[in-house]
């Protein structure tokens, strides 16, 4: 609970962040903002991909697999968006306090999950049905 409140404060308390340390050269801050926006577009692509799977894919031979894939993509999109703002805030804070930028396993994990999902979809659509 304490962790959640701390995170929410970090995301929404603009003055709290602005009061920490000294602001970096704005070029670094803008680079951090662009990284955030790239993640937001990734999140939007996942949400759009989920909508496209639900709306334009024919039903797969495994029951409900289409719906499961669509929901998984959109939940991943939401997670990417929330994580994007959290990572942005932690990077901004680190720059203001002159500390090293936080490391993250998230991009690697996301890459593996998306690759496994793509293989699953390929398998579900390309393998012929045996009767």
């Amino acid at each position: 609970m304490h962790f959640v409140i701390g995170a929410l404060r970090r995301w929404f308390d603009a003055d709290g962040l602005a009061a920490e340390g000294t602001p970096p050269d704005y070029r670094f801050s803008l680079a951090n903002e662009r990284t955030f926006l790239a993640w937001i577009r990734t999140a939007l692509a996942l949400v759009g991909g989920g909508l496209a799977v639900a709306g334009f894919l024919p039903p797969l031979r495994i029951p409900h697999l289409r719906e499961v894939l669509a929901v998984t993509l959109m939940v991943l999109g939401a997670a990417v968006a929330v994580r994007a703002v959290d990572h942005w805030a932690r990077c901004e804070l680190a720059m203001r306090q002159g500390r090293p930028l936080p490391a993250s396993r998230f991009p690697g994990v996301l890459a593996v999950v998306v690759a496994l999902g793509a293989l699953l979809l390929l398998f579900a659509t390309a393998v012929p049905v045996h009767r």
Binding site: W11, R27, R34, G48, L51
Partner: protein, 94 residues
């Protein structure tokens, strides 16, 4: 003049990044329109939030102190999360 080029380019790149983000959000909103019909109206507020914050940021990038606020970016992330929730509801609800 040349010494200011990296700074000007940094602002320009960020402005273009916001434009791409608005385009992405618009495509997702149009997908909602195609798939959800009138219920797509639920996605409009989220799209408007992205649009409004982007306009505000693009204007601020011309100012002397172009720093973003945590709240602005959190609002964008919240809007995208809302779109994901509506999309999930669209698939799960009968």
């Amino acid at each position: 003049m040349t010494a200011d080029l990296p700074r000007a380019a940094s602002r320009e790149r960020t402005r273009l990044s916001w434009r791409r983000t608005v385009l992405s959000a618009t495509i997702v909103a149009l997908l909602f329109l195609r798939l959800a019909g009138p219920a797509a109206a639920l996605a409009v507020p989220a799209w408007l939030v992205v649009l409004a914050v982007a306009q505000r940021r693009m204007a601020a990038l011309g100012h002397a102190r172009p720093y973003p606020s945590a709240r602005e970016l959190a609002l964008v992330a919240l809007a995208v999360t809302t779109l994901a929730v509506f999309g999930t509801a669209l698939v799960v609800l009968p």
